[in-house]
């Protein structure tokens, strides 16, 4: 070893990175034991997974190629990719769900940036959702496609954004009612919120499937997806209302009193003074809730709507590609993970962003 190499090695050993790892992995005898045990566990579990998932996997070809190999069949995901995205939507018209998906993703992209938080964004939500629905159903641009043929990732995104868009205004009203001094409205809000939060979402979906068709007059049949959307929006609004209420609770009474002293009425106090401050506080919580909602849309599979998860599951029942459930589940698991993990990182960033005094100009915790 030359002198310069020895010097470099010594420098590396005294660098903070090396020290962090030395203390973090072998700081005490107990710590070293943990490191060795964890390494042993990884050494036992990782190589077979790697062999199955990458080394012995089939990346292209037909199901016959897959059957010949012992590893994962990623060719299946390639062959079923369109089905997992769009399910039974007529193949010639699949540009529509593709366009809808791009529109919705663009909407999310713009909604995620605080500098676009203007009134125009609300208009954009209305426009995009309305446009998506007409595009998918083809009311203005025949041929029409009934919603029973919609499916895949696009249904997951569409149901999620519509329900979220419907639930938010309702949640604000519920939270205001629950915090108000008006006994009648407060009781209504409390009963509704506790009823929804005490019930599993599966039960709510069964209400949409079994009860709602009986409750509409003269047995007019509303579409199953519409019924599910109505019930899910009601269900989520209860959860959102509790988060909004948490924000309303920390606004100091002085703010209400000052607004009253300025001669503002109830609605103007709320709209101009209280809600803008509360929103800054609750937005990270709302984003976390929205991530949970995206995961919860997978329950649509229980009532037979072809959302992302259900589409993936039924793609493995295709006689040509029978039984590649592991690959299907891993692939959609990855899609959900990418969306939700990205969302949770965004939520963390937003929390620190809004806490900066120059941004949260009216946040009391500023």
């Amino acid at each position: 070893m030359s002198i310069s190499e020895a010097l470099a090695a010594r420098q590396w050993r005294s660098s903070p990175t090396f020290q962090t790892f030395r203390v973090g992995l072998f700081g005490t005898p107990f710590n070293s034991a943990i490191t060795i045990a964890t390494l042993a566990l990884l050494g036992w579990a990782v190589p077979p997974l790697l062999r199955w998932g990458i080394l012995d996997a089939t990346w292209t070809g037909t199901s016959r190629d897959c059957a010949a190999a012992s590893g994962a069949c990623w060719a299946f995901v390639g062959a079923k990719f369109r089905f997992i995205l769009f399910a039974f939507y007529p193949p010639v018209l699949q540009w529509r769900p593709l366009l809808v998906m791009l529109l919705l993703l663009a909407l999310l992209f713009f909604s995620a940036q605080p500098r676009f938080w203007r009134k125009r964004l609300l208009v954009a939500w209305f426009a995009v959702i309305g446009l998506s629905w007409t595009l998918m159903s083809g009311t203005l641009l025949p041929p029409t496609v009934p919603s029973s043929q919609w499916g895949g990732l696009v249904v997951t995104l569409l149901v999620w954004s519509i329900c979220f868009g419907l639930a938010t205004p309702l949640a604000i009203l519920l939270a205001l009612a629950r915090r108000s001094g008006m006994g009648g409205l407060r009781t209504l809000a409390v009963v509704f919120i506790e009823l929804m939060r005490g019930t599993p979402m599966v039960a709510i979906l069964y209400v949409a499937v079994l009860i709602l068709p009986m409750a509409v007059p003269n047995g007019q049949l509303i579409d199953k997806s519409v019924r599910a959307i109505i019930m899910i929006a009601l269900f989520w609004s209860a959860y959102l209302a509790e988060v909004v209420r948490g924000g309303l609770q920390v606004i100091p009474t002085g703010q209400y009193e000052a607004a009253t002293a300025l001669g503002l009425g109830y609605w103007r106090t709320m709209r101009l003074v209280v809600l803008p401050q509360a929103f800054r506080l609750v937005i990270p919580g709302v984003v976390n809730l929205a991530i949970g909602f995206l995961l919860a849309t997978s329950l649509l599979a229980v009532i037979g709507i072809f959302d992302l998860l259900n589409a993936a599951r039924s793609s493995a029942t295709d006689p040509q590609w029978l039984g590649y459930y592991d690959e299907a589940y891993l692939f959609v698991g990855f899609v959900y993970f990418a969306l939700c993990f990205g969302g949770s990182r965004y939520s963390l960033w937003l929390e620190t962003y809004l806490r900066r005094p120059d941004r949260g100009r009216s946040a009391p915790h500023g």
């Binding site: 790892f21 992995l25 490191t35 964890t38 005490g198 069964y206 009860i211 599979a301 589940y329 949770s344």
Partner: protein, 397 residues
């Protein structure tokens, strides 16, 4: 506007009417109109439902509970055969839900606390591994995880080629076999004796805790005495306990406990999902205790274990307990996903009931009422506990 609070409509003097009008608050007529509109909407929906039911020839009401149910239930803690009443079937479903929920809460807590502590252990590798486990589990749908687990449970080999661990746990396509205690000759007097012992133990612990005399030694002595009592209770009343291990016998495995693939998959899914939740709660709870508390405790001469037990945990529990309770409630609600993988829980039985009798309104009302009752009673107990903990904290300040 808000000055109007002083001039609420209604009689001026103190009295019940004034108190009601104060409670009812501002804009009395608008409120009345909204409440009336909501009631009218509910009435309209109910009326339509009744009309529809009458048209298909179903009599509304809960009379169907007495009728025989002509379906089978895969597994139940109580004996159920096709032909028993619907009420009995629903009870079986409820017990199935409670069984998986209680077991799930216990196992998720054990695994979650272990993971939470492992994440804070200071070992970079282990903490990183726990971090990834939590992120993957939290960012994928529970239903997807359940589908994954049931696919695995169904793909186990037949009992003859069962995968086994330590020759006592067997993984087969007929379910998971685990060893356990098997009781025989248990009579009513055994149960009474055991119940009495449990009550005596709890009463002793609670009363000494209230008097502030509960420490490790007292608790250990009481637990030891109770355990000795339990061990004596069995021979005294002529009952016996053996430790039973499953073993291959012919084409099947006998002995021990058999968990069906559905139950095993549901339990695994719930435990994995909620262990990640609880690990996060434990981490947040312990990190919520100010660093200064650790330093002050160290300055007082306490050692590691004492700091944790006497200083950090009591404060962390104030954060941990309410969050854990709501995680338990979520777990109980999420156990309803059982219906998607074929475990006969409450939702699944109610769904079958609704489909076979056509009385979906009544069946779902029952379902929602049962879940509400579970939820509200647990949250009420939680609120009582919270008030206690909060008051003690405030008094010490």
């Amino acid at each position: 506007m808000s000055l109007r609070v002083e001039t609420v409509p209604g009689p001026g003097g103190p009295g019940i009417a004034r108190r009601i009008s104060l409670w009812w608050g501002r804009w009395p007529l608008t409120q009345l109109a909204i409440v009336a509109a909501v009631i009218a909407l509910i009435w309209l929906l109910g009326h339509n439902t009744a009309v529809t039911m009458a048209r298909v020839g179903i009599t509304p009401g809960f009379g169907f509970l007495e009728r025989p149910a002509n379906f089978e239930i895969g597994e139940a803690p109580i004996a159920f055969r096709a032909g028993d009443t619907y009420a009995w079937a629903i009870l079986a479903g409820l017990l199935n839900t409670l069984r998986v929920a209680v077991l799930g809460c216990v196992l998720a807590t054990v695994l979650g606390v272990f993971l939470g502590v492992a994440g804070l252990s200071g070992n970079l590798l282990l903490a990183g591994l726990v971090r990834w486990y939590v992120e993957v589990v939290r960012n994928t749908p529970l239903l997807l995880q359940l589908f994954f687990w049931i696919a695995i449970a169904k793909s186990f080999p037949s009992p003859r080629q069962a995968l086994s661990a330590f020759d006592s746990v067997f993984l087969t396509n007929r379910g998971v076999f685990v060893p356990g205690l098997v009781f025989h000759g248990v009579s009513a007097s055994t149960l009474w004796l055991l119940g009495g012992l449990a009550v005596a133990f709890l009463a002793f612990v609670v009363s000494s805790w209230r008097r502030g005399r509960l420490d490790g030694r007292t608790f250990g002595l009481a637990a030891g005495a109770t355990l000795a009592g339990v061990l004596l209770a069995f021979p005294l009343t002529g009952a016996g306990v053996t430790f039973d291990r499953p073993a291959l016998a012919g084409f099947n495995i006998r002995g021990g406990y058999n968990l069906t693939p559905e139950f095993a998959a549901l339990l695994t899914g719930l435990v994995v999902k909620f262990s990640a939740t609880i690990a996060e709660i434990v981490r947040a709870g312990i990190q919520s205790v100010d660093r200064g508390q650790w330093e002050a405790a160290k300055a007082l001469g306490l050692h590691g274990g004492q700091i944790m037990r006497l200083v950090v945990l009591p404060q962390a529990l104030r954060v941990i307990t309410p969050l854990t309770t709501s995680a338990y409630l979520d777990l109980t609600k999420d156990s309803s996903l059982a219906v998607a993988i074929g475990y006969p829980d409450l939702v699944s039985v109610i769904n079958t009931t609704a489909n076979t009798t056509g009385q979906s309104l009544e069946a779902l009302t029952l379902l929602i009422a049962i879940y509400l009752a579970i939820n509200l009673s647990v949250s009420m107990a939680m609120n009582l506990y919270n008030r206690r903990v909060a008051l003690r904290g405030a008094a010490r300040k």
